[in-house]
C-alpha cells in the first residue's frame, strides 16, 4: 500500500467529522438568517460554551449531564437572543449584526474570565478516548463516534425539515414570511422557535466538537467564520445546501491542512470566492 493512502484516509475521515460538526452548528445559523433575517454573530460564542462544558466532563455521567446542560444553556440563550433582537426586527441587518456581535464579545469575555486564556484540553469520555485501526492506521475512536452522531443528527434534521409540518412551516417562512403571517400564524413564535433550536444546536456542536478542537479563546470566531462560509456556499436558508457545503468545507479544511498547511485558509476562501462568482445564491439555488 503506498504511503499516502493512510494519510489521505485520515484526512478524509477527519474532514467528515469536521464537516458534520459544522453542519450541526451552521444549520441553526442558516435557518435563523433564512427565516427571520437575523444574522446571529453570537453563534460562535454558543459553540464555545459547549466546548468549555465538555472540558469539565471527564466521566460518562458528567458527559451526559454536560450535554444536557449545553442543550439547555443554548436553548435559553436562543430565547434571550430572540428577546434582545426583537425590537430590531424591522431594522437593517447591520443593527442586528452589531447587537449579536456585542453579545458574542460578552460571552467570550465571561468565558475567558472564568477559565483563563490558556487552552483547556477536553477529553472524550472513557472508552471513546482510544484509537481503532483502519487499514493498519490508528484512528481516534471519538472522531468516528462524532461522525456517527453527526450522521444521525443530520438525518433527523433533514427528515424534520423535508417531511414534517413543522419543517413545512420552516420552509414557508424562509420563502415568504408575510404570507405565513397572513394565514394566521404568529411569526414571533416562529422566530423564538428557530433561535432556540438553532442556538441549542450550536452549543451541542461545541460540546461534541470540544474533544477535537479543545476549549480555547478564539475558537468562537474560527467556528463562526467557518459557519458563515458554509451558510453562504450552501445558500441562505437551504438545509440541503448547508449539508453539502459543510461536507465540502470539512474536506477542504482537513485535506488542506494535511497537504498544504500554510495554504489551508486560502483554499477555504478560494472555494468561497469561486462559489460566489459562479452561483451567487449558493450551491443549490
Amino acid at each position: 500500500m503506498p504511503e499516502w493512502v493512510p494519510v489521505a484516509m485520515t484526512a478524509t475521515i477527519n474532514g467528515l467529522a469536521i464537516g458534520l460538526l459544522l453542519f450541526v452548528s451552521a444549520v441553526g445559523l442558516t435557518l435563523i438568517f433564512g427565516m427571520m433575517d437575523v444574522l446571529n454573530l453570537a453563534h460562535g460564542g454558543l459553540f464555545l460554551i459547549g466546548a468549555y462544558l465538555v472540558a469539565e466532563s471527564p466521566t460518562w455521567t458528567t458527559f451526559a449531564v454536560g450535554l444536557a446542560a449545553a442543550t439547555t444553556i443554548g436553548a435559553v440563550a436562543g430565547g434571550a437572543l430572540s428577546l434582545a433582537t426583537a425590537p430590531l426586527a424591522r431594522r437593517p441587518h447591520l443593527d442586528q449584526a452589531l447587537l449579536t456581535l456585542g453579545i458574542a464579545l460578552v460571552i467570550a469575555e465571561v468565558l475567558s474570565a472564568l477559565y483563563g486564556d490558556d487552552v483547556r484540553p477536553a477529553n472524550p469520555p472513557p472508552g471513546l478516548d482510544g484509537a481503532v485501526p483502519i487499514l493498519g492506521h490508528q484512528y481516534p475512536t471519538y472522531r468516528l463516534a462524532v461522525i456517527g452522531v453527526g450522521v444521525v443528527l443530520a438525518l433527523v434534521f433533514y427528515w424534520m425539515v423535508e417531511r414534517t409540518k413543522l419543517g413545512a412551516l420552516f420552509r414557508a417562512s424562509v420563502a415568504d414570511r408575510d404570507m405565513v403571517a397572513a394565514i394566521g400564524i404568529d411569526v414571533r413564535f416562529v422566530r423564538v422557535g428557530v433561535l432556540v433550536v438553532g442556538s441549542a444546536l450550536a452549543a451541542v456542536a461545541g460540546f461534541l466538537g470540544g474533544p477535537i478542537y479543545n476549549a480555547r479563546p478564539g475558537l468562537d470566531s474560527t467556528i463562526l467564520v467557518l459557519a458563515l462560509v458554509v451558510v453562504v456556499i450552501g445558500g441562505l436558508g437551504s438545509v440541503r445546501g448547508v449539508l453539502l457545503a459543510s461536507l465540502l468545507v470539512g474536506q477542504i479544511e482537513s485535506t488542506g491542512r494535511a497537504l498544504l498547511p500554510s495554504l489551508a485558509s486560502f483554499l477555504l476562501f478560494g472555494a468561497l470566492a469561486v462559489t460566489i462568482a459562479v452561483k451567487p445564491k449558493g450551491l443549490l439555488r
Partner: protein, 230 residues
C-alpha cells in the same frame, strides 16, 4: 360587513392611501378598479395588516382591525390572495393546505373538490406548478383559513384565457357559498363576471362606486376614470 373609514397608509415617508373609505356587505362581491399605481395593492395589504395604517379604521362585523398584526387579521376572518401569488416554492401543495387549514368551513376534502388539479399534484412542490395552478393554490391557501372575507389581487395576471374562465367559475362558487369578496382586477370581463359592484380608485382614494350593470354601460365615466376605450 367590512367598513373602511378614512384610511391613510403608505411606505416609509410616502403616503399612498389618502383617506380611503369603502364598504362591503356580507356576501357582496366588490371589484376594485383603477389604473396602475393608484394604490390597489396597498389597500389590500393594509386591510390584511401587512402594511400598518397611519390613520383610519377597518371594521369587520364591528371588530376594529386597524393596527392589528396579519395573523390577528387572518383569525378575525380576512384572507388574502396576493398579487404575484406568493406561494412558497419549496413547500408542497398539500403542505400549503395543511399549514393554512383552520375551522370547519373549508376542510381539505372540499378544497380539493373545488380544485381537482391540485388534488392530483398534492405532493408536488408548489414551485413545479404552472402559473394557473399556482393561482389556484394561492386561492386554496386563503380559503383554507375559513375566512368570511377574501381579498383577491389581480388573480388573472399572466394567465391564459382558458384558465381565467376556470378562475371565474371558482370565484363565483365562492361568492355563492356566502363569502364576501374584494377583487382587484385589470381584466374587466373577469371583474364584471364575478362582482356585483365596482369601486374605482384614483390616487389613493375611492372616487366612484356603482353597481356593475350600471358601470359597464357608463362608457364615458369608465373612459374618464380608467382610460378605457368606449
Amino acid at each position: 360587513m367590512l367598513l373602511v373609514h378614512d384610511l391613510h397608509s403608505g411606505y416609509g415617508s410616502g403616503t399612498v392611501l389618502h383617506g380611503l373609505s369603502l364598504q362591503v356587505r356580507t356576501g357582496q362581491a366588490l371589484a376594485v378598479l383603477g389604473r396602475n399605481g393608484v394604490g390597489k395593492t396597498t389597500l389590500l395589504s393594509t386591510l390584511m395588516g401587512l402594511v400598518r395604517p397611519r390613520r383610519g379604521s377597518i371594521r369587520l362585523d364591528g371588530c376594529e382591525l386597524a393596527g392589528r398584526r396579519p395573523d390577528q387579521v387572518s383569525r378575525a376572518g380576512i384572507a388574502l390572495v396576493p398579487q404575484g401569488r406568493r406561494i412558497w416554492p419549496t413547500v408542497t401543495v398539500h403542505e400549503h393546505v395543511r399549514l393554512a387549514v383552520r375551522g370547519q368551513s373549508w376542510p381539505i376534502q372540499r378544497l380539493y373538490e373545488l380544485f381537482p388539479n391540485l388534488a392530483h399534484r398534492r405532493h408536488q412542490p408548489a414551485g413545479n406548478l404552472s402559473g394557473g395552478e399556482q393561482q389556484m393554490l394561492a386561492i386554496c391557501r386563503a380559503l383554507a383559513t375559513g375566512p368570511s372575507l377574501i381579498l383577491l389581487d389581480e388573480p388573472s395576471e399572466g394567465l391564459a384565457p382558458g384558465i381565467v374562465s376556470h378562475l371565474a367559475t371558482a370565484i363565483t362558487e365562492m361568492v355563492q357559498s356566502g363569502l364576501s369578496v374584494v377583487i382587484v382586477e385589470h381584466d374587466l370581463r373577469l371583474a364584471y363576471a364575478v362582482a356585483s359592484d365596482v369601486a374605482v380608485m384614483v390616487r389613493g382614494t375611492v372616487v366612484h362606486t356603482a353597481a356593475v350593470d350600471e358601470f359597464r354601460n357608463d362608457h364615458r365615466r369608465a373612459h374618464q376614470l380608467l382610460g378605457l376605450e368606449a
